[in-house]
Subunit: 369 residues, 2 copies
Amino acid sequence: MTAATTGPVRVVGTGLLGASVGLALRGHGVDVVLSDPSRTALALARDVGAGRPAAADDDEPTLIVVAAPPDVAAQVVAVELAAHPDAVVTDLASVKGHVLDELRAVGADLTRYVGSHPMAGRERSGPSAAVPDLFLGRPWVIADSGSSRPESVLAVRSLAVDLGAVPVAMDASAHDEAVALVSHVPQVVASLAAARLQDADDAALGLAGQGLRDVTRIAASDPALWTSILAANAGAVHAVLVAVRSDLDAVIGALAGADAASGPEDVAPGLLATIAQTVARGNAGVARIPGKHGGAQREYTLVTVLVPDTPGELARLLTDVGEAGVNLEDLHLEHAAGRPVGMAQIAVLPGSAEHLEAELTARGWRLVS
Amino acid sequence: MTAATTGPVRVVGTGLLGASVGLALRGHGVDVVLSDPSRTALALARDVGAGRPAAADDDEPTLIVVAAPPDVAAQVVAVELAAHPDAVVTDLASVKGHVLDELRAVGADLTRYVGSHPMAGRERSGPSAAVPDLFLGRPWVIADSGSSRPESVLAVRSLAVDLGAVPVAMDASAHDEAVALVSHVPQVVASLAAARLQDADDAALGLAGQGLRDVTRIAASDPALWTSILAANAGAVHAVLVAVRSDLDAVIGALAGADAASGPEDVAPGLLATIAQTVARGNAGVARIPGKHGGAQREYTLVTVLVPDTPGELARLLTDVGEAGVNLEDLHLEHAAGRPVGMAQIAVLPGSAEHLEAELTARGWRLVS
């Protein structure tokens, strides 16, 4: 595939994101010039093939990608806009409003600036974790500055497409409100639930099931990174958390009433309804999350199979699923406490479940469904 | 395997749990007598092989399993204790303290009562969803009444073991505090986060990633069931949620301060530390959740592979993993927005990752790791 992006592209900040951008562009044969305040990060990025270090006699870049932490992104963008008066500049920071505000405050040339945010990441960080496929299939928000020239927007959009991402146009404040809802608030909520486990008995933790694991998985995230993200998007996150607190207050009040009552019929009117409505509103919210491949959420039927925890068993199961002619839409593994066995939940189209169950049973699998 | 449990066992309440208990015991050749106020549920349970309906000339049961909803469990247990003066009675309700309190209040014979709670369930409910393996490998809490005779405790413990579960001794209040922490509060928190998505823009929801899906998955649970569970465990859930609210208040206060500041250096002292500590406490909490198979949490290395979304590809990948001689410890599938491709995250022991990556690359797989 030929890239629409033409070089030289200057990448400022050669951590995971910047080095991955460089790697992907180099794969398209685009000339990539790298810059980073850390000489080690710069050398590493060069060594993984993300581009070449900037030199005094470089040609002027056409596009500059600033992949700096959210709290310094605006300053770096302003410096780059001033130093390269013909280049389009974008940044990849995960919060967009405060970058734009700072640029406006210093009078930066916003006709050549377009904010962006690829919704991609990894557990590992740094240039050695860079991979050219990092952005493949991910939404990449393109945030017009309000003064961006159309050709500036097109250059950043082309970059996203060249890297295999799906560009999504959204202004900075809409972006920040969106990520508050779908990323930042879930992070806080997961941290709050996980924090309660700190002082729990081992016996209590031994009752943990998949629900707890799912709710708290992202609570393992890096505190320093998340402090800078949450602080940079403080306004939008604050607004959503205030609404969460209001709902939480209602539940706490209802539970206090239920605790004081001698039985369900003795609970003050409306309190049980408050609890039921909280769960029902959660039902309605989770139903709005788009399904696989960004399409509308589809209803799959789950077929649950017991899988011995020995090498090759899961592969044998999935081979049998394939030979049954059924397309596996999703797969979830759950492990049984204290036993060398797991349950594989296979999501299939509703019309295929019965056939699959019959085929798997015939091949000796034990179904829990 | 021969069952330690001898019949007749009387199962009162033939929904998912009761019918699954019956099915599993019938599989061991134990005589199971069924009772349910719903004639349809009773007939269905009989038809799936969970046992036979109670008749006037039945032998007296040795063990009675009450699988009734939490808000009626105590009444049913009291009736069964009185009607069968030689039988041991247990109930499977997911909250134990209020059942015991009610039994004490009516002067029930607590020497023959032992509360229990198998940590098992399914998305589907009712006797037609019953499966004998429902309890396999699951923790099954055995809650001595404080007056239970040792032989009563042994009978219920034997039932759990016969059904393949892992018995865990815990008194009623310790159980209720434990499930508040590991199950009920995560449910509320997931519902609160999901509820915020109700009125979100479609564009915002289009940015949803795996983190949001994980945090909110259990928010799809049944409101009526969860209202009865939360109301029955109101005291313990209330206490944990009050602590969550206290942490939430601190975060909200810190974000208000950060939002008012012109930059990180302008944020009032301590506010950023509050945010960082919230995330760090979440780190500490999530690290305490036991890992796979109930053992200590182990560190696995993730190998991420691009998998085309066509039938058989995942099976082919796992076959290749097996042929590489590497044991797959866990598997997580993630789908790429708008593209027919997914990422399979394969968790392996750290020492195996490099070998696996080399083998998979040699077999033509594209790694994102």
